[in-house]
């Protein structure tokens, strides 16, 4: 069986599928112009309703991240600048989540930098291979 994505059921699943697909594109798991799995294949991989995948594909198309060709399927955008923009958006969100979380714990600006540096120094190399599907 294929890998099973675990979704947070407290927020719309189609939004999480959109994020997952954006991550795959930004991480170059899927390249510019690549064909996406069919809605059905994706639904089976993620164990979700195909309508939910369909919705995610439609929204991604509206955002310009993918495009469809009648009878051919759905493809990753060929616009490198678009991917870079999305990649930066995802990165900004992760940074915001991290910093907000640290601030809630009472860490100040300089302490946050120290914590981050310490982690970067000690981070084991092999962990970097596991990062692809992280959200």
């Amino acid at each position: 069986m294929a890998m099973q994505a675990v979704f947070d059921e407290n927020s719309p699943i189609y939004l999480q599928i959109m994020d997952l697909i954006k991550q795959r594109i930004c991480a170059s798991l899927w390249n510019l112009g690549d064909r996406l799995p069919s809605v059905r294949e994706m639904a089976i991989e993620l164990r979700v309703n195909p309508n939910t995948v369909q919705r995610a594909y439609q929204e991604l198309e509206r955002e310009g991240m993918v495009f469809t060709q009648r009878g051919m399927g759905t493809f990753v955008t060929e616009d490198q600048a678009k991917v870079e923009t999305v990649r930066n958006e995802l990165a900004s969100r992760l940074v915001r989540q991290f910093v907000d979380g640290m601030a809630r714990l009472g860490f100040e600006r300089e302490q946050i930098r120290v914590k981050l540096d310490m982690y970067l120094e000690n981070r084991p190399m092999e962990q970097q291979g596991d990062d692809e599907e992280r959200g």
Partner: protein
């Protein structure tokens, strides 16, 4: 596209009590409806009426344009229909037996399902565990090319392994281009990723109906949380 299921102002009275009291619902191809509610809320009554096993007191039900009856039954797969497989049969014989009743039975799909559901084909039905029996019944239902699939509590009393397999089977073998499906359950959490619409039944009325993701966004929580809210 024509609706697979169209229900208008459906009412059912048992004696002095309204089991269903004015349900409206429309399902199209690809819809998977979670029908949720506590025991006695009318879930089974509603499915029985759609399956043509009992008559409504008021209102109308159309399945692909047909009233419940012989024509609609040929296009509707209802899980409890296969409750009566003979216990002395082997699993293999039970599949052959049930497939004889339905023109729309797909033997190749039955083979695939039996294999990944891990049901041993030479076991006697009488010797299957409860979870195995549920899996077999689901194989029999999902092997039909029906327009409308009605699963009444498919996870009732089964273990987590069986539950995962049931969910996987629904995800992989559901013909969403052609069918609509209703799954009744009081275990909303287990089936959450599979539903795209939900209808909460409370005392025979629609307490809440909507697209699952829209409801999550509106209520800022899971369908399970909303379920607890509605039935608290």
């Amino acid at each position: 596209m024509d609706a697979i299921l169209e229900i208008k102002n459906l009412k059912k009275r048992y004696g002095g009590r309204w089991a269903l009291n004015g349900i409206d619902l429309e399902l199209n191809r690809g819809d998977v409806l979670g029908l949720a509610g506590p025991n006695g809320s009318g879930k089974t009554t509603m499915l029985k009426i759609i399956a043509g096993l009992t008559y409504p007191t008021e209102g109308s039900v159309l399945i692909a344009g047909h009233k419940p009856g012989p024509v609609s039954k040929a296009h509707t797969a209802y899980l409890p229909d296969v409750d009566h497989i003979y216990r002395w049969m082997t699993v293999r014989q039970a599949i052959e037996y049930v497939s004889g009743f339905y023109d729309d039975f797909d033997h190749d799909r039955a083979e695939r399902l039996i294999e990944f559901m891990d049901v041993e084909t030479d076991m006697k039905v009488a010797h299957l565990s409860k979870g195995m029996t549920e899996r077999l019944k689901l194989v029999l239902i999902m092997s039909r090319n029906a327009d409308l699939i009605l699963l009444d509590e498919p996870l009732g009393g089964i273990d987590p392994t069986s539950r995962d397999k049931v969910i996987y089977a629904i995800a992989t073998e559901y013909r969403w281009e052609n069918s609509a499906m209703i799954i009744s359950t009081h275990l909303v959490r287990d089936l959450e990723p599979i539903f795209d619409k939900v209808l909460f039944l409370k005392d025979g009325r629609t307490a809440l109906f909507g697209n699952a993701d829209e409801l999550r966004a509106q209520h800022n929580g899971s369908v399970e949380d909303i379920f607890r809210e509605v039935f608290a």
